[in-house]
């Protein structure tokens, strides 16, 4: 059950151009920094990236956008990124925008063997175009399908050699549901521990959802909006 890889380079060795990736994180919080850096280094392109956001111009997924490695983004919110907006409006980048709750649930569904479900989100909007509408309890719902990825890249706080993960604060966000939906899920963690060190009653992502794990380095953990009170 030892799933440990040495570093990002070794863990993502078989990610190829044209593949579909899920990347955890909300804004720049809880993103797989090491894997993203290695994808830039590796130069794979034509990627389809499923991620709630697209990073900022010079960090997170913005780094892959700069190098034009992304063919298509599937996201819910892509503000805060001028290069993204430029590529999208010029037609260089395909973009599929999805309500945030539907995005999360579609990832969970992909990992849970649920091919489709009904949700009220997006009825009567562009999002519903071409989708089946059905009324439940007199309220319209649309049918949304499961999402899958060749690789899911997630970032956790601590993880053990079996792939069990815990997340810190709101860095959890999309990471647990994406971990479920990857054909191969790669977890990068701030601290790699021995099996038995994580409390089994309080594991966030059970190891069964994780195929590879490595201890990341040099986390920048950039803050997008530093807001504070004076003491």
């Amino acid at each position: 059950m030892n799933k440990v890889y040495k570093n990002a380079k070794e863990a993502i060795f078989d990610i190829k151009s044209g593949m579909t990736l899920m990347l955890g994180g909300f804004g720049l919080c809880g993103i797989p920094e090491n894997c993203i850096a290695e994808l830039v280094e590796k130069g794979v392109n034509n990627l389809t990236c499923i991620s709630n956001n697209a990073g900022v111009d010079n960090f997170g997924l913005g780094l892959l956008l700069q190098k034009k490695q992304i063919k298509k983004m599937i996201s819910s919110y892509v503000g805060e990124n001028e290069e993204f907006e430029r590529q999208m409006l010029s037609g260089e980048l395909e973009v599929d925008l999805i309500p945030q709750g539907s995005l999360a649930e579609r990832c969970r569904a992909g990992g849970s063997g649920i091919p489709a479900f009904f949700t009220p989100a997006g009825f009567g909007t562009e999002v519903a175009e071409g989708k089946e509408v059905r009324y439940f309890n007199n309220k319209p719902h649309i049918l949304e399908s499961a999402l899958f990825a060749d690789f899911a890249l997630v970032k956790a706080w601590k993880g053990d050699k079996f792939g069990n993960l815990i997340y810190k604060g709101t860095a959890r966000n999309f990471n647990p549901v994406m971990a479920m939906a990857g054909k191969i899920t790669i977890a990068e963690v701030e601290e790699l521990v021995e099996p038995g060190e994580l409390d089994p009653y309080f594991v966030h992502t059970p190891g069964i959802f994780v195929q590879r794990i490595f201890q990341g380095i040099n986390y920048e953990k950039r803050i997008e909006q530093r807001t504070f009170r004076k003491r």
């Binding site: 909300f26 804004g27 720049l28 919080c29 809880g30 709630n52 996201s75 819910s76 919110y77 892509v78 503000g79 805060e80 907006e85 999208m88 409006l89 973009v95 925008l97 309500p99 945030q100 709750g101 539907s102 995005l103 999360a104 649930e105 990832c107 969970r108 949700t119 009220p120 989100a121 997006g122 009825f123 009567g124 909007t125 562009e126 999002v127 706080w157 810190k168 604060g169 709101t170 860095a171 959890r172 966000n173 999309f174 990471n175 647990p176 549901v177 966030h204 953990k221 950039r222 803050i223 997008e224 909006q225 530093r226 807001t227 504070f228 009170r229 004076k230 003491r231």
Partner: protein, 217 residues
Amino acid sequence: MLNKNQIAQRIAQELRNGWYVNLGIGIPTLVANYVPKGVEVEFQSENGILGMGPFPYEGDEDADMINAGKQTVTLLPGASVFDSATSFAMIRGKHVQLTVLGAMEVSQNGDIANWKIPGKMVKGMGGAMDLVASADNIIVAMMHTNREGESKLLKSCSLPLTGVACVKKIVSNLAVLDVTEHGFKLIERAPGVSVEEIVNATEGNLIVEGEIPEMSF
């Protein structure tokens, strides 16, 4: 005419004890600063917080603790943190009693548009479509008119919709309005704003019945 803080303050009067409340980015975020005395509410942030507190003290900012606006925040005692699917289970499952969000346009039947200007601006809907499709109680915080002075309270929205027939109440810089079967119903005027000004600033059908009180804080 209300400024942004006053809009937030007026909305805060709608809070009721024991409610779970989701505040959108912008003016709605300010509502948290005006919770009336004696009213206990918990704020939900759709990136995965229940019991969101104020900004941290300078130097205590934690990159791993942000709200849906990507601002560094804190947790209050009794808070909990969870993943995005659980967060939207709360929202979609109607466990959140009030949603406050901004809008670019609202129509007289309660349609809302706030995520896209075709060919010009596409930020995405974020969690707004889930919020407006599910919440029973939606208050929109917005400016009554755009920079050109054109009404944003319309007969029908011109921009791509975020949700249909969902907005229940609007608090603008000029007025408080309910969205009813027959259109916008004027409830209160902002201090110093006349009914006529509100009529002129509202393109959609506006119902004015009897004396319209000035709002008080």
